[in-house]
């Protein structure tokens, strides 16, 4: 029981850490954009700040809600450490990894052939869309894998 409380406290602390990191990155991003006028688009830094801040806030809310309720805290920790859920997540992660590998390998092959003139070189827009897909598709495969695993086991 004490282990669960410690676990929840650690998670809340990690949430705070992410929130602080997010605020710092967001502030640095704004400063780079408006004060220092850097050559690159500093929104990428403030965007990262928003991402980490949101992640930290979500984590804090999630764990703070159960911090004073011992039963709810135990159930939350049990659900996170549940061996069946971990197995499903591992299988989904493995599938997503292989999809990601396949996409990266396909892009590498295309670029190699394009360099030798056997295939047309991708335009910057095409490359951007492909890279975006290479991020989104493995994530979709991961989430779908979890949903399928939960349904089938």
């Amino acid at each position: 029981m004490a282990n669960n409380e410690q676990y929840i406290q650690n998670r809340v602390r990690a949430g705070w850490g992410l929130l602080v990191l997010g605020v710092i990155l967001f502030t640095v991003g704004l400063a780079l954009q408006h004060v220092f006028d850097v050559a690159f688009n500093a929104r990428i830094v403030s965007g990262l700040g928003i991402f980490f801040g949101g992640l930290g806030l979500a984590q804090m809310v999630r764990y703070r809600l159960v911090q004073n309720d011992r039963t709810a805290a135990t159930r939350l920790v049990n659900a996170e450490r549940d061996e069946r859920s971990q197995m499903i997540r591992a299988q989904a992660g493995s599938r997503a990894f292989w999809v990601s590998m396949g996409l990266t390998y396909a892009a590498l092959m295309w670029l190699s052939f394009a360099a030798s003139g056997s295939l047309p070189a991708p335009t910057p827009d095409a490359l951007w869309f492909f890279l975006a897909a290479a991020v989104v598709i493995p994530f979709v495969v991961y989430v779908a894998g979890i949903m399928l695993g939960e349904k089938n086991s």
């Binding site: 039963t71 049990n78 659900a79 549940d82 061996e83 069946r84 859920s85 089938n152 086991s153």
Partner: protein, 69 residues
Amino acid sequence: MENRLEEMRTHKGLTQQELADQVNVSRQTIISLERGRYNPSIILAFRLARLFGITVEELFLYSEENGNG
């Protein structure tokens, strides 16, 4: 794998959630175990067997036909 989990749980007067709380897993895992759709780790199998005061072999009924499932 077939098992006597539901029988033992109801005999002990436990709900699925209460059993899940006692062996530190989610209620969904107990449901999957009872339906025979998930085979537990050896640690969980021992925890469940000890909770009911029986052996693992008495709780989980292994046969060669369903050895993989």
